[in-house]
Amino acid sequence: MLPNQLTPGSFSGYPREARQTAIQQIALLQRLPLAFLPLLLRELIVYDWKFPAERADLGRQFAYLGTLAAGPFQTAMSAFAQLKLTRDLEKTDWVNSPAIFSEQLSAHLWATHQIDAFRAAAVDYVQKASASAPDPALPTHRLGIAVIGQGVAKNDYRLFRKLGPQGVYFTQVKHVGGVEVLLKAAAARAEAHPVPYGHWYIDGGASLDVPKSVTRISYDALSAPRATLQERMQKTYEAAVFDPEAFRTMLAQIKPEEAGLHSGGDEVLNRFQLSLLTEGSGTQVFSTTFVQWAAREALRRAQPLTLVTRFAPRQREKQMNELLAEHQRKPELDPQGSLIDADMGAYYTWLNQQRLPGEEKSAFLAWFEDHDEAVAIAPTLERGKRSDTPIDLADLIARLA
């Protein structure tokens, strides 16, 4: 099937809002090249469970493409149209299974050495679509907070090596109140600027209480879905005839309630949490990976104004000789390794925050939990400086919030 063969009936399998949007845009969709359209449909097919920011972004793309005259439209799509695809790809059910199509497309582009051309085309498209409309004004600047190093008493690792050059490294942070102070600041921002999915708290262990205005997810709260998914994955893995494609389809089609995420709750959030476990690599096993990936996805998709991430110790990776030992030790945690993971995770979280609109005003705090060290980044703070002056954590966050 080719894009110009699309009809409204092609989208009968789509959820309600996705179907409506597709039918509304069908004239545009019919004009898009096959190397591009399924990637757009991959986003559209889950429209009903998209965050507001994602819906706005899709709307912007439709507006950008829809308002281009014939010539510029052709120019915008020419790089995609020039990619050589196969008949097999055309035959794929890319309307109803765009995710599977995009995996096959990706493999094809790599194998035929077209991945670089595709990559360049994608970057160019995103830049032009983003530039086509001004970024909406934010009610306030963004604030990211990363709490790292839970459970580490003594540390020899040089922390904040990547974040440090971006802001001020504080060495005398008086942390009375600790995490609660930071969550309180997040809650205050949520109250002052109520935006759906605009304020988040992600915890790598058991989460602390926050008002409902703050979207909260935690690794511990997802222990049942994690176990269910791991069991399913294991069964498929051990099957007599292993079919990777069927495995992918199984993961893509699993519903939140099947994984133990309660129905009747926040369907958008449930889908989001499920995606963290089915699409993330290592998120099912390591809590540090879970927090970093969840933060990345929350920033990319929900574009929150406030994001608090708290990394907790992950399980320790056993060495080969331990695995081979007759009597294995009980599962242990690895606080020191987790600190190193979290230090990098905090840097990635800052980088991802900087990818969002309003980056010139955004602020970020990374704090070594229960210790005196923190890095604060904000337009008002000098870069690459060190401060040995004692400062309260509450005062520090107040300067950033």
């Binding site: 194998a111 990547k162 390591f286 056993k318 980088l351 900087q354 980056e359 337009p379």
Partner: protein, 496 residues
Amino acid sequence: MKCATACRWGCDARRITRADAQEFLQTIKSLPIRLSDPVSYDGLFSMADRHGLTVYDAAYLDSAVREGLPLASLDNALCKAAGKAGHKKRWPAPLCSIIALKRLAYMHVSDLRGRKPHEISQAISLNRRNFLRTVTGAGSAAAFFGPAALRGMAASKNRKAVVVTFGGGARDDETFMPDGQENIPHLLKELVPQATFLTNVVNKGILGHYVATASIVTGVYETFNNFAAVSPNNPTVFEYYRKDLKRPATDAWVVAPSNGFARIGESGNKQYGPGLGAGVILPKRLLSAALSSASDGARYQHLLRDNYETPLYAPSLAGRQIELDQMAAVLKLSVDDFAAHARNLVSPDELSVYIARQLMRQISPSLLWITLHDIDIAHSGTFSLYVDGIKRTDRLCAELWQAIQKDPEYANKTTMFILPDFGRDSDIDSGGNGFQHHRTGDAVSRTTWMMALGPDVKQNVVVDRRVESTDLIPTLGAYFGFDARLSTGKPIAEVA
């Protein structure tokens, strides 16, 4: 001015094209370079006069002293002057190119705040090739042709080669860049000073570990499914070696991490193929077989996991017992001893190196290929475990080199090549998730390094021209005297 001058010299010497020069100068323009005036031009003149330096070079020294930064220079007079001026911070000559890159990288990262995503991307996607070549060109050329380049010992007629892929996928950031150097003390302090070090090795193929290794082994960018248990389409180095040089089957071996590499030793090419390849040992598979009779399989499941990249890959292969018997015969190692030894090792790569050393002791193959893979734990998203993998691989490479030097069958007649199969995604590319994967195909994930050590290889030399990972097999061809006729690569003259 200096950069433009270096470019002019590069053009005149035909080391670079004018288009390369223009591209590089454009890159320089896009960088947030901070200009720093000397405190006093009189002072600068005095410094130049005192140390017999040009005023330009005195300005470098003045800048390094005032900023408290290491001096990255291959200029003897300048380094000597730095010593006299009490400025001890200096990097070893072969690392100057890397350090220069570090300095530039720091400038990039330090000025990202408040930038738009594409600006960040543009700022960081430094044209590594041009930078390394132009900035280090003079230095490396001097090192290559000057007295610093120590000639190796005379070539032995009975040559051997050991190839180690520094697997699976390590970035410059965690190896030769400033923050990464603490992870590779053995490479930096022991091996690089004895090596010709190629800083700019590009892999233009598919960035999956099996298919990428197959591409290196064949010298052709293979295009099969990375997760399929298939033979490479093109003849492997082992087939060229054995057929052209009429070498026996026992003379070429591969030690590889997982079942996925079972067919790496022999291609499906009709002119070569069956009977002409290398023996392949998959230590984890052997271990699985050795333990399965007496142990709880589930207990070892994690250890025997085949691939870090995807849980979707589990090729099942038969013939375990036969392999175990063969192992016992070939390596003169009982199954019990093998299993007992494994219990004292911390990782599958240690097991691979143990097997490789056993091969060296028992049958001394002339062509030995070892694919390490611990680093690929990065796919789990745990930075500390990824770095642990790099540290372990660094140590294992040094141990292998030491073993080569101590073994009379190998000492003074063996060249060892070490190279990552490719890098991993950049922190900056929004399409990836930094070190975790190698999916974007960006420059960081495609560009890596290679070093060669041995009696025929010049020591303490940096080569910064671009080569490709497919060039290794023709290089081995030139070294051994076989014709890698179907390879698309070219021999690397500096190490061939």
